[in-house]
Amino acid sequence: MILLSTLLIPLIAILIISIFPEENKKFFAYLLTGSLLYSFVVYMYMLFTYSTLYFEVLYGYVSSIGYFGLIYDGFNAPFLLGIALVSSIVGLYSLPYMEHRFHELGGGSWRSYYVNYGLFSVSMLGVALSSNMIEFYIFLEISLITSFILLALYGYGDRIRIGIMYFIWTHVGALLFLIGSFIYGLNAGSFDFIVPYKPYYMTGRGYEVLAPLGLQVIVFILIFLGLMIKLPGFGFHIWLPYAHAEAPTPVSALLSPNLIGLAALGMLRILVTLFPQIFYLMQNMIIVWALITMIYGGLVALYQSDYKRFLAYSSISQMGYILLGLATLTPAGVLGAVLHYLTHALGKASLFMTAGNIIISGNELRDINKMGGLASSMNKTAGSALLGFLSISGLPPTVGIISKFLIVVGFASYVITGFSNIYLMAILILTAFIGFGLTLVYSFHTMRRIFFGLRRSDIEVSEAPSMASLSTFVLAIFSIIFLILAGYLINQAHYSSDFMKIILMMR
């Protein structure tokens, strides 16, 4: 019941928070952070000790639905670690930040904030742990609702409108996903994508249970589009900059790297596992979509002058990385994609936290054009931002170097093995150069505009409260620690090689 405890202990903490009186905000923060840290420690422990897929059945077989279980394997390990770590540290960070935000809003409820925040974090863990589409959907739905509440209650700007926009968009995605799942599940007799007996992964199950190819394609497209809205891919991304820029910064730090990347896990767990043939059929299209997402996100990020909006567009571009790695369906690419989730979680969350630090100490300063030269007064924040940018652009000493390497290699082997036309190959490789290069451009260009050079306005900015700046820095340092631990993360996927083999054989 070790995996269940990683959900239950934070849930108990949330229950305790919900019955305590309002003013114990520090107690709330430490309790929630501690309980999520417990989950993190458990996942770390499992990273070092387990060497097989770990399946925990919560509730036996339910006819026509399947098993409700929690799973831990090499593919969701980076997701779990990323979510648990980021949400626990951001839980502490919320303390100074929401203090500031409540002050600005003229009041707010710590209890409601932490209860929603905790449920949001736990439900994301649940999504990553789930073994079955219904379970996946339920957890996803909880995370959507709680994040919507946090956004609508404590967000910036036109927060109610943006909250509703976020709610509708993500529910259109969730609905498409649900319809697809129903068509599959009712035909297949169960909604499982992983079962508690060998060979665990229901690889190619969609082909066996959905008779006409057309039906498979329909189910694939419904689920794919649903997840593509969630991811988001280019074309469906427009809700993201609004939601992520206007959410209170701790929530952005959870929304942006953690929640959206889960769609990639959904694709791996559901689409790749159940419908590998259809995935191969659509592979070229998905790769092109991923490349466009990468480049478009990067380009539009360059245009932004609002720091948080900039980060939101950068997340879109990063989702392109993950989708690209996943869609190559090579061992390197898939491993790179799941590892890049962790890279992005650490990097982007610390970047959002640096944005929050500037907001706290610079009197709502978000406009990059009014920053410049902040490194002199905010050295901890500047250091964290540098580490964050290094992560997302895939440079050492962060874990980003490994994930980017694997994605690039996956893409290269896709191009080399899949094409023989030299011009087509050259164009694809050139596109990759632009896509990955743009991340460097926008990262270091923005780093310069914010932290280096001369001041461009006379707004006083000092270092944020030590709780905020230190927690940012600690999270950023983890991207170095995970470079050293990257070996364990990749080795976790070792025992999934049978899964990968079947996938490769279906080409």
């Binding site: 427009i238 539009v300 360059l302 245009y303 050492p396 080399i416 990955f436 451009v441 050079g453 490769l504």
Partner: protein, 684 residues
């Protein structure tokens, strides 16, 4: 086959600087000064460790030394030739990496001792030491790693460190840290670069080109089935990969893409622009980047991989061999062109550090020509030895040149050589060191630079690259001229500049390092001839190419080089030291038609402006159009305005039907029934 010896402490050579870097950053929070001592001592320890490793290699050149290879992670490769790809953490020392590591560690140590004084009291002293030591660690990692992934990590680490150090003075508030002339524009593009700007240029240019390295080396790992460097030498799966690429005609392209990272790192045309503005960093950083690390990494890549390319393509068949030759010709042409291009820029430049920067890229061009020639001649070892020996001699004299440049700039508070007139009578040791190093750069015998450059030129001749051969000889002439011109200013009379009279000799902590470097350039020059064959044996023993019989230099080429070096150096000495004239203003006033040529060279062939116009401006337009119009007018508008308006129109349409009149409902009902009836009858 060579014997392997396992030595556990080899890893420490690169681990210690990394630990030193972390400690320097940590301690610097409390005491900035102390972080410098941590940095220096950690580099010192790894420098000490490089000596026994080299001695072991010298003792038996055919031996290779590895550290215990710890498994890092395994990637399963179902359906591939090698089902499991194992990545390891460990080091690998053969003659090439042992000598390279020794050079990197010791030159860095001398530079770091100099920096103790040079960076004293700087506002980012501990940050400097953090990245300086990290830089040395990354470089040693990339030199010594036995695993290609570690090699890549070290490689990218140098990118990060150079970014941080080039932009060290990030406040952009002191014009002495800038590069270029204020208000100078070429095609409307400013030619004045701040430290923070230069840092971005460096990391973007090298980092984007490194995608090519990741693609190339990554594919070699995954298709070759191993990431252990010695295993790649004769890997049959790599050979079959090359064969496949060759049969679809993309091997040349593949190899070129793989080399892009090295071209950018070593600042070869067309990716040379970042190095020029990298002069915004402290002088010791310039010395480190140009002498020991960074730009040398690209050459080291070529030295390490050219033998692999040669041996694998010969395994892969004639098609692969011919495409590999094409690739080597491309690299040689780029190297030769860079050598010439940068030398012409150095001839007209007015900034001391900038002149040395141009000359670095130019000299690296020589090295690239040499290494590329190795793929075109019957004895590949000659090219490797020529390139590597030029790398070493260049490292020594270029470090001395940059360190002395730092001392001069420090004294006169100006970057320009015409403000440094007359320093010769005040800073004798520094000027002596600079002069000796400049003579070595000018390839005046018997200094180290002469021998190694001569060998490079000769190799290019043997390879049959006659155009490049001529270009290199001409560049040698330019080199002699500009290097003596730069130091010649120190001997001119100093009426105009007043600071010079306050000048005084630099402190011993600063001058001892560059004096050592300058003198070693002389010493290496004297012993070069006697040891070159032993050197060649040590370097080549473990590489997958045949060893050389003996290096004998063509006396004709040697006489020609001597004449060129002496003529160019003496013409420069005559103009600047004896007649003490600034010649360009005189020439330009007499022949105004040369004004354009001067501008063309001074503005770096307008390449910088062209890049800004072609790449930066077009992308700026693109993202502005996308951000301003496409994102808002098309995407945002479609979903949040058009779609919602459509929905409201539709709902209004449906609502207007339901207005409560029974007779309309009845009519609708009847029509509905009628239609259903008709459908049922099969009429519709």
């Amino acid at each position: 086959m060579s014997s392997v010896e396992i030595v556990w402490w080899i890893d420490l050579i690169w681990i210690i600087p990394f630990i030193g870097a972390a400690l320097a950053g940590l301690v610097g929070v409390f005491n900035k000064r102390f972080s410098g001592f941590i940095g220096v001592s950690s580099i010192f320890v790894s420098a000490l460790l490089t000596i026994p490793s080299l001695l072991m290699i010298i003792h038996d050149p055919s031996k290779i030394i590895v550290s215990p290879q710890r498994e890092w992670f395994v990637i399963d490769m179902p359906l591939a030739n090698t089902p499991q790809l194992v990545f390891r953490v460990g080091s690998y020392v053969d003659g090439l990496s042992a000598i390279m590591a020794l050079m990197v560690a010791w030159v860095s140590l001398l530079i770091s001792i100099y920096s103790l004084k040079y960076m004293e009291g700087d506002y980012g002293e501990h940050r400097f030491w953090l990245f300086f030591t990290f830089f040395v660690g990354s470089m040693l990692l990339l030199v010594l790693s036995s695993d290609l992934l570690l090699f890549i990590i070290g490689w990218e680490g140098t990118s990060l460190a150079s970014y941080a150090l080039i932009g060290h003075w990030y406040r952009d508030d002191d014009e002495i840290t800038f590069v270029g002339d204020k208000d100078r524009k070429a095609f409307g593009k400013s030619m004045f670069f701040s430290p923070s700007h230069s840092g971005v240029r460096a990391i973007v240019m090298t980092g984007a080109a490194d995608i090519g390295l990741l693609i190339g080396v990554g594919s070699m790992i995954f298709f070759g089935g191993t990431s252990y460097i010695p295993d790649l030498y004769l890997s049959s799966s790599l050979a079959s990969f090359f064969r496949e690429l060759a049969s679809s005609g993309v091997l040349t392209l593949f190899l070129f893409i793989t080399t892009l990272g090295a071209l950018a790192k070593s600042a070869q045309f067309p990716l040379h622009e970042w190095l020029v503005t990298a002069m915004t960093g402290p002088a010791s950083v310039s010395a480190l980047i140009h002498a020991a690390t960074m730009v040398k990494a690209g050459v080291y890549f070529m030295l390490r991989f050219s033998p692999i390319f040669i041996s694998i393509s010969s395994l892969a068949g004639s098609l692969a061999v011919s495409q590999t030759r094409e690739y080597f010709i491309i690299i040689a042409v780029l190297g030769g062109f860079t050598a010439f291009l940068m030398a012409t820029m150095a001839v007209v430049s007015r900034e001391l550090k900038l002149i040395w920067a141009f000359s670095t890229a130019s000299q690296i061009g020589y090295m690239f020509v040499a290494v590329a020639s190795s793929g075109l001649i019957t004895e590949p070892g000659l090219g490797i030895v020529a390139g590597f020996s030029h790398l070493l001699s260049h490292a020594v004299f270029k470090a001395a040149l940059f360190l002395t440049a730092g001392a001069f700039i420090h004294v006169v508070h100006s970057r320009y050589i015409n403000d440094m007139k007359g320093l010769a009578s005040f800073m004798r040791i520094t000027v002596f060191s600079a002069y000796l190093a400049a003579l070595s750069l000018a390839a005046v015998p018997p200094l180290a630079g002469f021998w190694s450059k001569d060998l490079v030129v000769e190799t290019a001749g043997i390879a049959g690259l006659s155009l490049i051969y001529v270009l290199l000889l001409f560049t040698a002439f330019l080199t002699g001229f500009y290097s003596l011109r730069a130091v010649g200013y120190l001997f001119m009379s100093s009426k105009e500049s007043s600071h010079v009279h306050e000048a005084h000799e630099a402190s011993p902590v600063m001058y001892i390092p560059y004096l050592i470097l300058a003198l070693s350039s002389l010493v290496i020059g004297f012993v070069w001839w006697f040891y070159i064959n032993d050197f060649a044996e040590i370097v080549l023993a473990a590489l997958p190419i045949e060893t050389l019989h003996e290096i004998h230099m063509d006396p004709m080429v040697m006489y020609m080089s001597i004449v060129i070096a002496l003529v160019s150096a003496f013409s420069s000495i005559y103009i600047y030291q004896f007649s003490k004239k600034e010649i360009y203003p005189v020439i330009l006033s007499k022949a105004p038609s040369l004004e354009f040529l001067h501008r063309f060279l001074y503005d770096r062939w307008f390449i910088n402006s062209i890049y800004y116009i072609v790449f930066v401006d077009s992308f700026t337009e693109l993202y502005k159009t996308l951000g301003r119009y496409f994102e808002h007018l098309v995407i945002d508008n479609f979903y949040h305005s058009i779609l919602t308006r459509f929905a409201s129109v539709v709902s209004r349409g449906f609502r207007s039907i339901q207005i409560g009149f029974i007779n309309i409902y009845l009519i609708a009902l009847i029509i509905g029934f009628l239609i259903m009836f008709l459908i049922g009858m099969g009429v519709i």
